[in-house]
């Protein structure tokens, strides 16, 4: 874990973010649709959801760069609309797109944004060195940002965002398009921030990242459909999860989908993830159904539910229709 200098973190307990009836429309499109959200201080809060769910719009409103159409949101008790000046010094916002000056070097970008935020000269120097070393960017300080690799670009943005020691980090898909090694490293840095008592709100399309969060919310159609700790969310998926392997996984999926008791079947790589909510022991039932249909090399084994499956289940319109209402309001 990189050695990040510590400052007194805000007292735990109070909510870092509180949103009520937050809404944002773009023309006729409703991006965020009357959303309630509470993020406790010190949480690593994962915002999950498909593309177009409203994750970016929500984060941009909380970062004060986009005005809500209706509703209200506070960050550390200050309104993101009327008290922007009280909010911005305490937050760090990392947009989905790379948003550093491409023709300025790593050091220049960090220096620029830190100076604008009023970080003192001596502080800037030591902090930049610590952050760059901690993220393995110290060899590239003089390189122009446009010539960095994808992972290094994201790390530069995070380092720049951390220069003024924000209490709340708003990260919009920070690891999209980043190689697995860099992603792991990135999350190690976030874990360090979490240990430091800082609050992180991170939007991500990667389900494995959701498991590293202390809290997660599943966003779809501009509303929060599910929220809780990862374990709570997993518990919301009814039934048992099984993994089916076969010589022809697609054929197997088609067969399994028709078996009574199966709630959903999804292809994940070359295995079929089956959600069973029926009576009896699912493994032999499925095995015999597949054998009867002539699918060869069949293997069926129960597995522990993971976020990937939960996400697939929650995002599936057919299962969601039965499950989603009444709306789960974040409390």
């Amino acid at each position: 874990m990189p050695a990040l200098p510590t400052t007194p973190a805000p007292p735990p307990g109070a909510d870092a973010i509180r949103a009520r009836g937050l809404r944002r429309t773009f023309g006729d499109t409703v991006a965020v649709d009357g959303l309630d959200l509470d993020v406790p201080t010190g949480a690593v809060f994962g915002l999950l959801g498909p593309d177009g769910a409203g994750k970016s719009t929500l984060i941009r409103m909380l970062a004060t760069v986009l005005a809500p159409t209706a509703g209200e949101a506070t960050v550390f008790g200050h309104s993101v609309v009327t008290e922007r000046d009280a909010v911005t010094p305490r937050i760090g916002y990392m947009s989905q797109r790379f948003s550093m000056y491409p023709d300025l070097s790593v050091a220049e970008n960090m220096e620029f944004f830190a100076t604008i935020r009023g970080v003192g000269r001596a502080d800037r120097r030591t902090r930049a060195r610590q952050l760059l070393e901690g993220m393995g960017l110290d060899e590239f300080t003089t390189r122009q940002a446009q010539f960095l690799s994808g992972g290094m670009k994201q790390k530069l943005m995070l380092a720049t965002t951390l220069m003024h020691r924000p209490d709340l980090l708003l990260l919009d898909e920070p690891t999209t398009g980043v190689d697995p090694v860099s992603r792991r490293e990135f999350w190690r840095i976030l874990a360090g921030l979490h240990a430091d008592g800082r609050t992180v709100l991170v939007a991500t399309p990667y389900m494995d990242e959701a498991e590293r969060c202390t809290h997660i919310a599943f966003l779809d159609g501009g509303r929060i459909r599910q929220h809780g700790t990862p374990d709570e969310i997993k518990a919301k998926v009814p039934g048992r999860l099984l993994e089916v392997t076969a010589a022809d996984p697609r054929a197997a999926m088609a067969v399994v989908d028709g078996v009574a008791g199966v709630t959903s079947a999804h292809l994940l790589g070359d295995v079929v993830r089956v959600l069973w909510d029926g009576a009896g022991d699912p493994a032999p039932t499925l095995a015999s159904a597949l054998a009867a249909a002539g699918v060869r090399d069949v293997g069926v084994r129960p597995v522990a539910p993971d976020m990937e499956t939960v996400f697939a289940y929650l995002a599936d319109p057919s299962t969601r229709a039965a499950d989603a209402e009444p709306e789960v309001a974040a409390s």
Partner: protein
């Protein structure tokens, strides 16, 4: 308002400029290329107009008049058709740009003390040539009359064309003398609009504008930090053009430096405003480029920068009052060529104030609203 943050922004802008070698070259090459283009090409073309002379009089006077034309350096007599009917094809084909017709009995009329009309036909397809060519011709004829009057002591009326007004302020009628002052204003407009709008749009394109919103920087600070470097660059370019004009093309400067500075400063606000407005309506740098073209073409055509306003159709002429450059040209040409003072240039100066207040004001309000949104 924090001077530190503004200085930081200016430093950042210059650092970025330094990293863009193409832009720097463009900034230097553009004024120089335009100086050559508008200074040399225009000047050389007008100097040797291909001219046809139809001499139906065939007298000493008519030959003297011919000699006055060819000796002026502006006209080169390339054709001497026998009749007026032969002129038309020559003008049609563009073989000659100007034709001089000296009717039979010109010398007799002049000796009798009558007005002797002569015909000067100018190729109207090129308004530059028609305006300047007829100006030269009138001047030569007027000079010819004056010489005759002096020689004979007999009062002779000016034959048809009155040249006095046109030649009063610019005796050599050298187009460079009006072109270079105009170019100073045009360069400023192009430079500020193109480069500044590109710079602002670039910032939006790269997502850094949004990142800027999360910092405590104020809209006003951002604007000052963004505008100052480009105003400085445009000033440097103007100085380059002015120096080239004064020292290389030897354009006479008869006016007050203060008139020029005040006029240009007023015009600069309009240009910055237009650049900002372009950057507001453009999402990409490509769109910004197109928007600039959309403004520059009518500006160049209607301001009198290339084509004299007097040669435009009467219904078009009022439109030229909607173009800010029109008034900047009046101030600069007035100051350079005529040595006009503030009182004489009150109307264009006030027009520039008006454009500045409206365009610059609107752009600042709109940009602040966009940034604050």
């Amino acid at each position: 308002m924090s001077g530190k943050r503004i200085r930081l922004l200016i430093w950042k802008e210059f650092t970025q400029l330094r990293r863009d070698p193409l832009l720097i070259r463009l900034l230097l090459v553009m004024p120089v290329a335009q100086l050559i283009l508008f200074g040399y090409v225009v000047a050389v073309d007008i100097r040797n107009l291909a001219t046809a002379v139809v001499d139906l009089d065939r007298t000493v006077t008519s030959r003297k008049l011919e000699a006055a034309f060819s000796g002026s350096g502006y006209f080169t007599i390339t054709q001497t058709p026998r009749t007026e009917d032969d002129l038309r094809p020559l003008l049609d084909r563009g073989t000659v740009k100007v034709a001089l017709v000296i009717p039979e009995g010109t010398q007799d009329r002049l000796t009798r003390g009558e007005t002797a009309p002569i015909g000067i036909i100018v190729d109207g397809s090129d308004s530059q040539i028609s305006a300047v060519g007829s100006g030269y011709a009138s001047q030569i004829v007027a000079q010819f009359n004056a010489d005759r009057r002096e020689a004979s002591g007999v009062a002779i009326e000016a034959p048809g064309i009155d040249a006095r007004v046109r030649v009063m302020f610019n005796p050599t009628l050298d187009p460079v003398n009006t072109m270079i002052p105009g170019l100073i204003a045009a360069i400023m407009m192009i430079s500020l609009m193109v480069i500044m709008s590109q710079a602002v749009v670039k910032e939006r394109e790269s997502g850094t504008l949004e990142q800027m919103f999360v910092t405590p920087i104020k809209a006003t600070e951002y604007l000052i930090g963004k505008l100052t470097p480009y105003a400085a660059l445009a000033t440097a370019q103007m100085l380059l053009v002015a120096a080239g004009g004064l020292f290389w093309f030897r354009v006479p400067f008869n006016g007050s430096v203060w008139v020029v500075l005040v006029g240009l400063t007023l015009f600069m606000f309009t240009c910055i405003g237009l650049g900002l407005l372009v950057s507001l309506v453009s999402r990409t740098r490509h769109q910004a480029q197109q928007a600039v073209m959309f403004i520059m073409i009518p500006t160049m055509v209607l301001s009198g920068f290339i084509f004299p306003i007097q040669s435009m159709p009467a219904i078009i002429q009022p439109l030229t009052n909607l173009i800010p450059l029109t008034f900047a040209l009046q101030v600069l040409r007035g100051a350079f060529v005529k040595g006009s003072d503030f009182a004489a240039l009150a109307v264009p100066m006030l027009a520039l104030v008006g454009f500045g207040v409206v365009i610059f004001g609107a752009s600042i309000v709109a940009t602040r609203r966009r940034i604050a949104e």
